[in-house]
């Protein structure tokens, strides 16, 4: 069994509950044999009595049988306060990430903010420096948009080679939500702008006071000051009560717990745009203000967490594609390490700067090895590069913005392995 500790122990608990369940197959697959007494022709136990009524849970949670969780990687960061947790992408359906499984990345812990104390200030090169309450923001005309957010360090542990166990860790600093809030350009209309303005600083109110410089043109384009996430208030880990949404841009710039926007005439060169979130090249120079997360994709089924062991025959290969530059227009899939490609079906809706689900059928036979890859393209014509092409352009020390074609090796027994190949 390659399932993680949590899944393994919970499925054992399930078996104990089931009592004298007969395990038909010893294929080592997580296909639950379950309790025969609850299966045809018997009437299952839940069909023979009443269940809990409405509002037994006033705020609903998922089934107790569902076990997908965020995980963190202990060796990655000095402590768990300034750290990252990863979305279990292998367990995600469609394109929306449940808010409770949205990846987390923060630098000073999650603040607990009373919305009645929330204030946001806009000042600097404006005509009218203003302070807004949360109610002020909710009174202004709003929009809802579905966008992915991705930490630019997603995949950054694998510039030199494959070393992570599964898709949760190779790509799980990635989530997609419907965000609701006020277009930032409406707030800037409230304050007005003075001549010469070209950049703004967005600043968080957490202990790190994370601050990033943002080009004014992006603020006036599609930036949102969001208070809603997937139909409810933005979660604390995602910036409650208010976060900045910068569609397509690296997640670090989507300032959470937003308290202040300062308008200026140049970038501020904060710690998060000099010491970190700059891309060091082999010549020793670091690229600065590298905002866009380029076109990218990964197969989420099968993957190391969802192997094919014991399941020969029909396989729907499925995965996620995304681009910070716009819509995904095409995803090709290879099962032979990039020698031959077939174009996958993109599932509607295909939205700009949002996760896009792709699917393509395949047959896997026991004993057959395969190298599965996906390659996405976007509406600007950008094509996801190979890891070799990316290393040729940037070396292996730039940490951020690794968007290379990813390879899963399907071994003879159906184990799926994170690998890199010579392409």
């Amino acid at each position: 069994m390659s399932l993680g500790k949590d899944l393994k122990s919970s499925s054992r608990r399930g078996l104990l509950r089931a009592g004298a369940a007969s395990l038909a197959s010893a294929g080592g697959v997580a296909q639950a044999a379950g309790n025969a007494e609850n299966q045809p022709p018997n009437l299952p136990e839940w069909s023979r009595s009443l269940g809990p009524g409405v509002i037994e849970e006033t705020y609903g949670t998922r089934s107790r049988h569902e076990t997908a969780v965020r995980r963190y990687v202990p060796w990655l960061t000095p402590d768990r306060v300034s750290s990252v947790s990863f979305t279990p992408l292998a367990d995600m359906h469609g394109i929306i990430t449940p808010s409770g499984l949205h990846f987390e990345r923060h630098h000073g812990g999650v603040p607990d903010i009373d919305p009645s104390d929330y204030r946001m200030m806009i000042h600097g090169m404006v005509e009218r420096p203003l302070i807004f309450t949360l109610e002020d923001l909710k009174r202004l005309p709003s929009v809802s948009r579905i966008h992915f957010i991705e930490c630019p360090a997603n995949g950054g542990m694998e510039w030199r080679g494959a070393q992570m166990s599964g898709v949760q860790f190779t790509h799980g600093m990635l989530s997609c939500s419907e965000w609701t809030g006020v277009p930032l350009k409406l707030l800037l209309a409230q304050t007005g702008l003075r001549a010469g303005a070209s950049w703004l600083l967005a600043e968080a109110s957490d202990a790190a006071h994370l601050a990033r410089s943002i080009p004014l043109s992006k603020a006036l384009d599609d930036a949102i000051i969001a208070f809603g996430q997937n139909g409810e208030a933005v979660r604390p880990q995602q910036g409650y009560p208010v976060r900045l949404v910068l569609p397509g841009y690296e997640g670090n710039m989507w300032i959470k717990w937003l308290r202040r926007i300062e308008i200026g005439d140049r970038p501020w060169f904060t710690r998060w745009e000099t010491r970190t979130y700059t891309d060091l090249m082999p010549d020793g120079l670091a690229r600065q203000f590298t905002f866009v997360n380029e076109v990218n994709s990964v197969i989420t089924a099968p993957c190391p967490e969802k192997p094919l062991r014991g399941r020969p025959g029909f396989v729907e290969i499925s995965g996620l594609a995304w681009s910070g530059a716009g819509r995904v227009t095409r995803v090709d899939v290879s099962v032979d390490g990039g020698d031959n490609w077939r174009t996958a079906t993109l599932q509607d809706p295909v939205l700009p700067k949002a996760l896009t689900r792709f699917r393509i059928p395949w047959e896997w036979a026991e004993g057959q090895t395969a190298c599965l890859q996906s390659r996405a393209m976007d509406e600007t014509g950008r094509v996801q590069p190979t890891i070799t092409a990316l290393r040729r352009a940037r070396g292996v020390e730039s940490i951020y913005h690794k968007n290379s074609i990813h390879t899963w090796l399907v071994d003879r027994d159906g184990t799926v392995v994170n690998v890199q190949i010579d392409a």
Binding site: L3, T77, P78, H123, R128, P129, I131, D136, L140, A153, M157, E158, R160, G161, A162, Q163, M164, S165, G166, L188, T191, G192, L193, A195, S198, A207, H209, L216, S217, R260, D265, R266, P267, W268, F269, T274, R275, M281, G284, A286, R287, F289, F291, P304, E305, A325, G337, N340, W341, T369, T380, G381, R382, V383, I399, L409, N418, V419, Q420, D422
Partner: protein
């Protein structure tokens, strides 16, 4: 930020057979639109990013404000929150400090994570060393080797440190700690007074080390069949060298 476990790429671990002929497809794109996506701003002339001059203004057509939403911010309110110190030193506060004054503060508030000499304990960041390492395969991004501006060091220390009690010290104390970490990097003397006038004048070793966005920097090609031209696929790195396939790289347990 992230320490890499891997430092050496391994050799081929598995080989599979493939065959074919290359057929390249060039996807369409417009370089003007692409450049706007990657660089949505106009930079001052030159090949390095600069904090010392204004960057050209952006066109901004705003709608009329909606009356009655938002209230005027007073100067006092703005002053209380406006902590941002720009790379060129803009908005550095009054006050001053020396490395000599900063040593004890550093030992009290910083050394538990960053070490007595800024060497960095466990996985906490080193603050010194690494000079000349940026082109190597083990680049060290410290204040002395990588940070661009000395006022940015002050800004970060005041905004986010001490780690568990940010903005809890006085501006004089923040100047003194900033002076001490610059002194650890042999950039100033122990009696040099750091303040709003002197800090922007410190010549940081890597001040010219930053350039603008260099992407797109990979080809847009999408071969469809026989792309490997008969070259067999070889696995250059297999994660099973480090970890079992599945969820083993991480944990959901608190510690």
């Amino acid at each position: 930020m992230f320490r890499l476990m891997l430092k050496v790429a391994g050799g081929a671990a598995a080989v599979m057979l493939v065959a074919g002929i290359v057929q390249a497809q060039q996807a369409p794109n417009s370089s003007a639109a692409i450049s706007e996506i990657y660089r949505p701003f106009t930079a001052p002339p030159g090949d390095r990013t600069r904090a010392d001059i204004a960057w050209p203004a952006s066109a901004a057509a705003l709608t009329a404000p909606i009356p009655g939403i938002g209230r005027a911010a007073t100067n006092g309110e703005i002053a209380g929150w406006d902590i941002a110190v720009r790379g060129d030193g803009h908005n550095l506060p009054p006050g001053s400090g020396t490395a000599k004054e900063g040593e004890e503060l550093y030992v009290t508030h910083c050394a538990a994570c960053h070490g007595d000499f800024g060497e960095g304990l466990e996985r906490w960041p080193a603050l010194m060393g690494g000079r000349g390492s940026l082109r190597s395969d083990q680049p060290k991004r410290t204040i002395g080797s990588f940070w661009q501006h000395a006022p940015g060091v002050f800004d970060y220390i005041r905004r986010a440190m001490p780690y568990a009690a940010p903005q809890s010290l006085s501006n004089d104390e923040y100047y003194a700690i900033t002076a001490y970490v610059l002194f650890l990097n042999e950039l100033i003397g122990e009696d040099d007074k750091m303040d709003a006038a002197s800090l922007p004048k410190i010549a940081m070793p890597n001040r010219d080390g930053f350039v603008l966005e260099g992407r797109p920097d990979t080809e847009d090609s999408a071969c469809m069949s026989n792309c490997r031209q008969g070259r067999p696929v070889s696995v250059t790195m297999d994660s099973r060298r480090f970890v079992e396939p599945g969820s083993g790289s991480g944990t959901s347990q608190p510690e």
